[in-house]
Amino acid sequence: MSDAVLQTLGLSIRFGGVEAVRGVDFTLAERELRCLIGPNGAGKSTLFKLLTGQLKPTAGRIVFRGHDITGHHTHAIARRGIGIKTQVPSLFDGLTVREHLWLAARRTNPAERARAITEEILERIGLASLANGAVGRLSHGLRQWVELGTVLAGNPELILLDEPAAGMTHDEVARTAELVREINRTHALIVVEHDMQFVRMIARTVTVMHQGAVLVEDTMDQIMKNATVRDIYLGKHGGS
């Protein structure tokens, strides 16, 4: 498994009596784009928090590019090259769009290069006209873009996107899908999304989570035909 970017082995976390993530074995190959779906409470966001070190697993291991990063600090994991766009955009409300991108770019680049990257990303996410406005006043959709741009500016090797299309218009969703495909040419990605149309636009392999565990992993077409998956989305499997 030397070509795996990310691998989890029996990853679990327990909150009191609830096991929010149960024995997840997950492998992501180089340049892979994986969609992660599942009903609310399936453990997708919790899994992301484990991968980024915001939560510490109660059991299991996380291996990123051959390094065991289990239990490492969030900033140390970010330094290894995992970037995340969180479900509710996590931004610096008092700072401008440009400052967001610069902060992300500057950590790994000298000042001159960081400025260039900032301008480049501003163009790429189409926010050049809003570059000097405080982020706190932007709409939810625009905040999504700012966070996406911030993650890109840091140029992490693995990018986690938690519901990148939420709160976007139909056109914006299409643009986001376009951007995700473009990012995927150079980066590995894991995308959590509820919007099935969006998933269909980008997905090759899909992992379905249910009640904290991986239910099934297959191509999008096979997943759509899978009766169990349909049932849990309609609530027939209880629990969710």
Binding site: T74, A78, G83, S90, D93, G94, L95, L103, G136, G154
Partner: protein, 320 residues
């Protein structure tokens, strides 16, 4: 600021000059908290602990060595090291904001109690007797480095303190405009995002806290030198309250604010002190309450918001 500083000794008398010297020293102290709290977002209620440590470090070393240069350097280093140590426990222990405030306040009050109980011959460092609540009188004042016999006169001291004030003010601006400073402000805005971007929040906070401690120590050194005297009152609740009030009145998130707040309150304290009209604590308590309840953002940010005619989020970094 520089022009005013150079011109002042020509127009004010000796008393006025001494008064301005202590105001300037206190402005340095105000800046230290304005930086730590207003930009670093670290709720430090014990800035007077570092101020007092600086004052005592200066006093003890100056008495022991009879020369002020090493004393002045130690007055910055000792509080900075102490801040680093305390900060390590607080930030790496991940204490929340409010706990931080209470712990720092407790630290300074314990120092107050400690120093008050050092009366007697047993409590001495080398030749220097700590003297408990009576304080240490007749301290050697600042001399020209290397020449203990050549003491600075009041005008020279004023220039020196003003120079330090300008250096600290400009230095903090430069620092805030740097990569480090921008990360510090970003941490205040959103710690979690900073970590997800790969910045070590604990380390940044620790550095801010340490720098703030060192600056407060410098102010303490200048204070001890000004009166040639230091007593446990540097650690008192009144002292630490004053620093908080300066920053609250002037406004968080600016460097001018704490200076303006400090000048207003120092002037008020001096006037009240000489007129004996009302108890200083009483007036300060009322002003404190009034600002928290009515002008929570402080004078400078409120005026700026008024000027911009938009009540948006507080400005994060402003070169003014």
């Amino acid at each position: 600021m520089v022009v005013i500083a150079l011109g002042v000794p020509q127009v004010v008398d000796q008393f006025g000059l001494l008064q301005l010297t202590i105001f300037a020293a206190m402005c340095i102290l105000a800046l230290s908290l304005g930086f730590v709290w207003g930009y670093g977002g670290i709720l430090c209620f014990g800035q007077s602990a570092f101020f007092g440590l600086g004052a005592y470090a200066y006093a003890v070393t100056a008495v022991d060595l009879g020369e002020s240069t090493a004393a002045a350097i130690l007055a910055v280093l000792v509080p900075a090291v102490f801040a680093a140590l305390l900060g390590y426990f607080m930030f790496y222990g991940r204490l929340s904001d409010v706990y931080l405030g209470v712990i720092t306040l407790s630290v300074t009050l314990i120092f107050f109690n400690l120093m008050n109980s050092t009366a007697g011959d047993a409590y001495r460092v080398g030749k220097a007797r700590l003297n408990g609540f009576n304080g240490m009188p007749s301290l050697p004042t600042l001399n020209v480095p290397g020449d203990p016999a050549r003491l600075l006169d009041p005008t020279e001291t004023f220039y020196l303190v003003m120079a330090f004030l300008v250096i600290v003010y400009v230095g903090l601006h430069v620092l805030l405009a740097s990569h480090f400073g921008r990360v510090v402000v970003a941490i205040r805005e959103n710690e979690a995002r900073c970590e997800l971007l790969g910045y070590d929040v604990r380390l940044h906070k620790l550095l801010v806290f340490t720098i703030g401690g060192g600056i407060a120590g410098l102010a303490g050194c200048l204070f001890a030198n000004w009166g040639a005297f230091v007593s446990p009152n540097v650690f008192s609740l009144t002292m630490t309250s004053q620093i908080i009030i300066w920053v609250i009145v002037g406004g968080l998130g600016t460097l001018v604010g704490p200076i303006i707040g400090c000048l207003i309150m120092q002037y008020l304290a001096t006037t009240l002190g000489t007129q004996q009209l009302a108890n200083t604590n009483l007036i300060f308590g009322i002003i404190f309450l009034a600002f928290v309840l009515l002008v929570p953002r402080g004078i400078v940010p409120s005026l700026r918001a008024l000027g911009a005619r938009a009540p948006g989020p507080s400005r994060v970094h402003d070169p003014a």
